[in-house]
């Protein structure tokens, strides 16, 4: 319809169309798929097909070399993984703790900073620059930077504790302090992301409900709790969704600070780190694929739970 009818609608353009070669007309008529097909083909070849393969591998005993013969063993790997209280379930717990605690602080701190930045003031520009820096910094480099700061012997963190009379802490080196320390690093790097998203949401809100609440004599806290927060809720959910997906998949800072296997006691071994180790340190492809499929289901499940709430909140 489009290419053929255009000249009728526009006599001025009539001279253009007859000159158009046949292939160009064909391209014009099929532009919908012509434009989308290359990207879709890339996604099919490099994402959907490999993901399906991973799904298949999770049902085999593939190990050692990807070229080695492997046998179909049904859900054997799933039984093995789901009954593994040694590595799998602790990794699930760490992934949940890491994501939950990091998200909580990132959203609370992010909301506080976004509210402070909401109204324009002098020097605002410099605060915005500072907020951008951790965001664009290479996560592996950020991990290394904190590794120096948290070094038990020479690090700035223990020096600073010394000034206020607190004894040195093991930080990343401690079996129980390592995971909280990596959570802290994640909060340092990604709270700015939440600030930017919430600030975009706040800026798009209209002033009227605020003013109305003020005239009604609502306090600052009441205005936030009953006016701003409900209006901002969709943006908060988006921030939790975007940040949550990435937090579940955190790999770089864990690998940079604790190395393979999440440290010698697996103290920061999350699902992603565990699956990576199974694949590339132990070459257990069948088992790692099983962990990855379960991990993928966990991510999809938490996303689904959140978006369901989002629809519920919108009602």
């Amino acid at each position: 319809m489009p290419a053929v009818t255009a000249p009728e609608r526009a006599p001025r353009g009539a001279s253009v169309m007859p000159d158009t070669p046949g292939w160009a007309r064909w391209a014009n008529d099929h532009r919908k798929w012509l434009f989308a097909a290359p990207a879709m083909a890339f996604v099919a070849a490099l994402i959907i097909f490999p993901l399906a393969w991973t799904g298949y591998l999770s049902l085999t005993d593939s190990a050692g070399s990807v070229r080695a013969e492997s046998e179909f063993i049904g859900f054997g790997n799933y039984v093995e993984v789901l009954t593994d209280t040694d590595r799998f379930w602790p990794a699930v717990a760490r992934t949940g703790a890491f994501t939950g605690v990091a998200l909580f602080f990132e959203v609370v701190l992010g909301m506080a900073v976004a509210l402070l930045l909401w109204r324009p003031f002098r020097g605002e520009k410099w605060v915005r620059v500072a907020i951008l820096l951790p965001l664009v910094a290479t996560p592996v480099a950020v991990g290394m930077m904190w590794r120096l700061i948290f070094d038990p012997n020479i690090g700035l963190a223990n020096q600073a504790l010394g000034w206020v009379g607190i004894g040195p802490q093991p930080w990343l080196a401690g079996q129980h302090t390592a995971l909280p320390t990596t959570i802290f690093i994640d909060i340092w790097q990604w709270t700015p992301m939440v600030v930017l998203i919430l600030l975009a949401g706040l800026t798009s809100l209209s002033d009227e409900p605020q003013e109305a609440a003020m005239i009604d004599g609502a306090s600052a806290w009441q205005r936030f709790r009953h006016v701003t927060l409900p209006l901002l809720m969709p943006t908060v959910i988006v921030a939790i969704l975007l940040r949550g997906i990435d937090a579940l998949k955190t790999f770089d800072i864990l690998y940079a600070t604790k190395g393979r296997g999440g440290g010698s006691f697996h103290e920061v071994e999350t699902l992603n780190v565990y699956a990576y180790g199974l694949s590339f340190d132990y070459n257990e492809y069948g088992l790692s694929s099983t962990v990855l499929i379960l991990f993928f289901l966990i991510i999809i499940g938490s996303m689904w739970a959140l978006t369901a709430r989002r629809k519920g909140a919108g009602r």
Partner: protein
């Protein structure tokens, strides 16, 4: 609404604390990169020390970082250019023809853990003798770049009025002509946003290069680990290496701040 004075004082103090806690670790990293390892171990020389360029000498000469900088630039540039080439027209189609299901498939890539693709990739690409080469690295980085670009550009095209294209059709342009001569020039800010973010994400990417790069094709985030030994860490060299990786991207970010912010918050306020 004018904030009260008490709030202003509180805001100034709170935001000073925020800025300091965000910037101080970075300054500490850069400072350590100019220290000898002896000075790094000496807490008396935390802030007052004689700067040295030795660490940068190590990084750029012994550790072959010039090569790794070129590698990182090339991979990030190629992955971004190819992703724009595939992603911008696709985003246009998905926006104009309302192909929400196709879009969802592309965007799913943001959710999939990268590790779950690495084993199949490794198998296929090692059979093709491509592991360790640039082409496989570029392809793997496109896994991150392409969905990002499609996501940002779809939002951009959604906000671009269709009337402009319709006017061009009336003037006798074909649909593809209207896309090329009207829509694309108007999309430069969106393409810049998507391109800059894609470049940064690729520059920072670690896991794909960790598995798929070779000794000559290593990118900077992987090369950082050259300074971490089994027994000891060359802290000065390591901090110079991390500075070399992060400083360029942070300086660029200062100049294109607006684009980065609009890219990172794309779609966040549509509800």
């Amino acid at each position: 609404m004018k904030p009260r004075t008490g709030f202003k004082v509180f805001r100034t103090i709170a935001l000073t604390v925020v800025v300091l806690s965000l910037v101080a670790p970075l300054i500490w990293m850069v400072a350590a990169s100019f220290k000898t390892n002896v000075d790094i171990y000496d807490s008396a020389k935390a802030l007052v020390f004689t700067p040295t360029l030795d660490n940068y000498g190590t990084v750029l000469q012994q550790a072959n970082y010039v090569q790794f900088i070129v590698n990182s630039l090339w991979v990030a540039f190629a992955a971004t250019a190819l992703s724009l080439l595939l992603g911008v027209p696709a985003a246009y189609s998905m926006s104009r023809f309302n192909m929400r299901k196709s879009a969802l498939v592309v965007l799913m890539a943001r959710v999939i853990p990268g590790v779950s693709l690495l084993v199949p990739w490794y198998y296929v690409f090692s059979n093709l003798r491509m592991v360790g080469g640039f082409s496989v690295l570029i392809l793997s980085h496109m896994f991150v770049s392409l969905p990002l670009i499609v996501y940002i550009m779809m939002g951009f095209f959604d906000g671009l009025p269709e009337e402009l294209e319709e006017a061009a059709l009336v003037d006798g342009l074909t649909h593809i002509g209207a896309f090329r001569r009207i829509t694309l020039p108007l999309s430069v800010p969106g393409i810049a946003t998507a391109g800059i973010l894609s470049f940064i994400f690729s520059w920072n990417n670690f896991m794909f290069a960790l598995v798929l790069s070779g000794a000559d094709t290593k990118t900077l985030p992987v090369a950082i680990f050259d300074f971490v030994g089994y027994a000891s860490i060359d802290w000065g060299g390591l901090m110079a290496a991390t500075t070399v990786v992060t400083l360029p991207i942070m300086v660029i970010a200062l100049f294109v701040q607006r684009y980065i912010v609009s890219g990172l918050t794309a779609g966040a306020t549509k509800g």
